[in-house]
């Protein structure tokens, strides 16, 4: 057969693509459960990090089971709905109108016996997505801890949001000021926001990432207002 002919070429590439496609499908299916378990464990680690717990990698799941009392979904009216809070894709939810969002809440009991409410947030930095978890005290207003992560922010600049030096600034800040709901703002170091909301210092050289954190908090925490004001009563 002529190896440079059109028929040979077409058959050759079809066979090749089918063989490679089968190999990929097989790999993907046989590894999927392991990958999902890794991704879940990573998510648990991030939730625990927001309540200031950093278990070793083999203790993540047991710590999570011990700390997280229950997880549930609320709507923007503050009422509980049916649904699997852990499986909710926060990235998709954060793009919906506020009234339609499904809002996961993870209720944690920390070492001193007090309840903390962990809320996921998701937004955009300079180069790609940023996300995190904010833990609130039982009053629904005081921030107990925060965890932020990013996909590809500039190392040494925007990427600093994942460092405790940045996220620990949020501890003790309030979401409600004089009964008004105002998410914590991130502003340039030394400046103040226009309103009277609580604020933390942004990262110098990471202005766009810092602003991203600020608008991520505003966008993702605002729908919880109804639920959180119920807690504060």
């Amino acid at each position: 057969m002529n190896k440079q002919g059109n028929v040979y070429t077409i058959i050759y590439i079809i066979v090749l693509v089918v063989v490679v496609g089968t190999a990929l499908a097989f790999t993907s299916i046989s590894l999927r459960s392991r990958q999902q378990a890794n991704a879940d464990a990573d998510k648990m680690r991030q939730i625990l990090a927001s309540v200031r717990l950093t278990p070793a990698s083999d203790e993540i799941i047991s710590t999570y089971d011990a700390v997280v009392e229950r997880s549930f979904v609320v709507d923007s009216q503050g009422d509980e709905e049916n649904g699997d809070a852990f499986g909710i894709n926060v990235a998709e939810q954060s793009k919906l109108p506020e009234a339609e969002r499904k809002l996961p809440v993870f209720e944690c009991k920390v070492a001193d016996g007090s309840l903390k409410y962990v809320l996921p947030v998701y937004g955009a930095g300079l180069w790609g997505p940023i996300w995190g978890y904010v833990a609130l005290d039982a009053d629904g207003s005081t921030v107990y801890g925060a965890y932020f992560a990013h996909q590809g922010e500039t190392p040494g600049l925007g990427a600093e949001i994942e460092k405790p030096a940045f996220s620990s600034q949020f501890e003790g800040k309030h979401l409600f000021k004089n009964g008004e709901f105002l998410p914590v703002a991130v502003v340039k170091a030394g400046q103040k926001p226009l309103g009277d909301e609580d604020y933390v210092d942004g990262i110098s050289g990471g202005t766009i990432t810092s602003k991203g954190v600020s608008s991520m908090l505003a966008n993702c925490l605002a729908p919880y207002e109804a639920y959180l004001s119920k807690l504060s009563k």
Partner: protein, 208 residues
Amino acid sequence: MAEKTNNKTVFFNPFSKDNPVVVQILGICSVLAVTAKLEPAMVMGLSVIAVLAFSNVIISLLRSTIPVNIRIIVQLVVVAGLVVIVSQLLQAYAYDVSKQLSVFIGLIITNCILMGRLEAFAMGNRPWPSFLDGVGNGIGYTIILVIVGFFRELLGSGTLLGYQVVPDCLYEAGYENNGLMILPPMALIVVACIIWVQRSVNKNMQEK
């Protein structure tokens, strides 16, 4: 290549005399990206060795059947398939590392070393020399990655493989990590230093 069949040269040349990074100047992009820390640099190196060796063997086995006018596409399909498999394996068995390497594993596909070796060597040689060529070039690439990663992590973060090696007393005496080492430009400068050292040792390689 006159020494086409000499397996020893095929394997050892890429370590220094014909190093893919510092002599052939291939695969520079990933050297800049993944060498801020030593660990991802090592995993990246191992992944490239694996992908390069297997794609070389597969292309070498197929070389007499591949229609000439679609040979680049065939090479790409094979490389892309292997890269996706490596990426899936990392996600399943080395999740943290796969998160750190993120897109760069996928970018092995575009690593010039791969296409370069497939086109220049595997298309014209038998599987065993091709395998050696792949492993050799992969190791040559890894050596550079590890050297660059070593200096960048040591000077930029004061750690090696995540363990602190710069003693606290030095920090107390006023020593500070060099933040510039973490940024990509310093990778280029470290690579340049390696090239400088290598050219000084092998005088015959100096460009006139």
